[in-house]
Symmetry: C2
Subunit: 251 residues, 2 copies
């Protein structure tokens, strides 16, 4: 999930950095496209040229103690620097049931640094504390990333359904669902709500239309779904204003 | 969740039966609209007139042992008999991680009895075994119930945001997300997949259109979202066939 959320959300990700604690090192040894760097991630990233990566995945150890540095602002600055415009960071974020303050802090830092969009997500993992794991996913300034409607749906990827490559948890339905947050979390993550407001809106599609009478004239309104947003947040807009504001939007 | 999934899915539910183990009896004592029956649910339901309820919620105890009867066909027959056409049953369904065989059995039984639609859903509950709880939700034959797009979104319900009535987990986003299933579960629930196929399709809205050339003529095709289905399963249909098959559908 921590891999598919970002990699299905950017077009053609080629240069990807995974920062992790070492417990899953064995997985990629057989793959010639994988290059290992054993060392301090903070140090490594300092020497990476600006705009190197299409995606960075940070699957760190517990975020209290030795790995504390990985949730502080300087590290996120380094991550953002290493990412190209319109690319993504997916960061392990502990449990929504247990660590809302930590989540709040991380969002607060990322909001300052990442000028694209910011989302929280979660998945069920029975062996983790409180049996969930969270993800904080951000995009850098540049071409908008629509996290909720992944540009690379896994079902359309050649070979994804081959024997032994079949995924057990992830699919495009789960991708979208994973961004739905319980109400208690939404209320706590006030910073996140603010973050939504600052995102530049972009229409995705028109799902309904109506004629509204205003005295002797009538106006066409359209129900618009927006990029990186749930269908529930579709809004009624005047068609002529929509066309004026988004001249390149064809529906 | 076990309450909101069904009650937000049927228009104006008035007569609702909750079958449960007794551990939450205290909750409703203060409410004059609630009537308690302490006794055997199987016996009680036998004496209920046909078509009495708009919704039945079965929050039973562990489904192995004394409560075994509550997952067998005769009990589901009794439940279906007590429900009116186009109403819903929401049944506790244990854990998707631990009890897929039990879930499979329940679906198999409900598929024979409930001629509306059948869905599995799940929610995160840290204190339960494997920290999730499942729901099996079915509708009886009659007016179609669109479980994925609830007819009574909680956000539009007057008083739902009042102090002390604010919900902690449930919201319309979570309602929809809760029906997204991990791939391993989808593969196991072959019976559920079959069940989807037998459901009468009904168009909800058109989200895109295109002109397809066929030799010297051209045909208009529209991308149609269907009732009780995810947007991902929208299909391209010939506009004139859609209009012929669904003359009352206005888009």
């Amino acid at each position: 999930m921590i891999t598919h959320l970002p990699l299905c959300s950017v077009p053609s990700p080629k240069t990807v950095l995974v920062v992790e604690g070492g417990d899953e090192l064995a997985t990629g040894f057989e793959n010639s496209r994988v290059c290992f760097h054993v060392g301090d991630a903070v140090e490594f990233l300092r020497n990476v040229p600006e705009g190197t990566y299409d995606a960075i995945i940070v699957d760190s150890s517990d975020l209290v103690g030795p790995a504390q540095e990985l949730v502080e602002k300087p590290f996120f600055d380094t991550l953002a620097r290493a990412l190209r415009p319109g690319s993504v960071l997916c960061n392990m974020e502990e449990s929504m049931w247990l660590h809302t303050h930590l989540i709040d802090d991380m969002i607060s830092i990322c909001r300052e640094i990442f000028k694209g969009s910011i989302h929280c997500a979660w998945a069920s993992v029975p062996t983790y504390p409180s049996a969930v794991i969270g993800f904080l996913i951000c995009s850098t300034e540049g071409p908008a990333v629509d996290f909720l409607n992944p540009i690379n749906p896994i079902e359309k990827l050649e070979g994804a359904h081959q024997h032994k490559r079949e995924l057990r948890y992830y699919n495009s339905e789960m991708h979208k669902a994973t961004f739905s947050l319980p109400s208690f979390l939404k209320r706590e993550l006030i910073l996140l709500v603010d973050a939504y407001d600052t995102i530049e809106k972009e229409p995705v599609r028109i799902v309904d239309r109506r004629i509204v009478k205003r005295g002797s004239t009538s106006v066409t309104e359209v129900l618009v779904e927006w990029i990186d947003s749930f269908p529930e947040y579709a809004t009624w807009e005047h068609l002529h204003l929509l066309q004026a504001n988004f001249p390149h939007f064809h529906h």
